[in-house]
């Protein structure tokens, strides 16, 4: 076997490309169950908010707690406990504090606008995540941003039902789609 530096460079480039695609695929599969969970949380919390709008804050606090705890349990099963670093937690805390500070500064008073605002932020996070982990996750972010903008600006009757079906449904479908990647 004769291997020139050009052959070696070509082989290493091929290895890098295939390994990247494989990592992206694994990322999709790992993200699927978490997305399905968040879709269910989103769907149920929005339906509860439609029925009891004055308790929206409580429902979201409870729903977010379930979502984060569930994601914490699901990700180690698919990616290995070692992958969850203090950086992930720090990123999450920074994002939450920034979102809360932005909502306060913008003086968002309406619970519906606040819901649309946080949905928009979640969509943006997916888009940023997608820049690193693959076009499917980026596309999911775009879809969430578009839904939150359209529903948030048009304020249709039964706003929360729209958010439940579109936002929650989109996350659940995306989760199944990613799992099958």
């Amino acid at each position: 076997m004769t291997i020139t530096p050009q052959d070696a460079a070509r082989a290493l480039k091929e290895v890098e490309q295939v390994a990247d695609r494989s990592s992206t695929l694994m990322g999709y599969r790992a993200a699927g169950p978490s997305l399905i969970l968040w879709g269910c949380v989103w769907f149920l919390v929005n339906l509860c908010c439609d029925r009891w709008p004055h308790m929206a804050g409580l429902f979201w606090t409870f729903g977010d707690a379930i979502g984060f705890a569930g994601s914490f349990l699901l990700i180690p099963r698919t990616q290995g406990v070692g992958r969850i670093s203090w950086r992930s937690f720090a990123t999450l805390i920074v994002a939450m504090v920034s979102a809360a500070a932005s909502a306060t500064l913008l003086q968002i008073r309406s619970a519906e606008t606040l819901t649309a605002f946080f949905t928009l932020l979640v969509g943006s996070v997916y888009m940023i995540w997608g820049c690193w982990r693959g076009v499917r996750i980026f596309g999911l972010g775009v879809m969430i941003v578009v839904i939150s903008m359209v529903v948030g600006l048009s304020h249709p009757p039964h706003f929360y039902v729209w958010m439940a079906v579109n936002g929650g449904g989109a996350l659940i479908l995306a989760g199944f789609w990613l799992r099958r990647a």
């Binding site: 076997m1 004769t2 530096p5 091929e14 295939v18 694994m26």
Partner: protein, 107 residues
């Protein structure tokens, strides 16, 4: 350092590269390996069998409902052999960059 003839073949190199980033308890299915390696069904089966025979890949066959499923993962030996082969390729590349006498490997 020696090249690994089993791994260096183009399709098998892609198969090993696809399996290498996986955590220890994860596997890739046949259709995913096919997409990642760009191989045909027949080719893929043959190359996987070669890697399995070398002890580099573990093949598991089962059923999901009534559908047969084939999954593959790297063995410890496979992971080690692939890492060594990558190191070998990087050495060749470095020697080429340095303009050294050994600008090509001939066993």
């Amino acid at each position: 350092m020696e090249p690994n003839d089993v791994i260096h073949q183009s399709t098998r190199l892609r198969l090993m590269a696809a399996l290498y980033p996986l955590p220890v308890d994860q596997r890739l299915e046949f259709k995913q390996l096919k997409a990642l390696s760009g191989a045909t069904d027949g080719n893929l089966g043959g190359h996987l069998a070669t890697l399995e025979k070398a002890g580099y890949v573990l093949i598991e066959k089962d059923f999901v409902g009534k559908r047969p499923r084939t999954r593959a993962s790297l063995t410890k030996d496979g992971r080690r052999a692939f890492a060594r082969h990558l190191e070998f390729l990087r050495d060749i590349l470095d020697q080429g960059r340095d303009g050294g006498a050994a600008d090509r490997y001939r066993p």
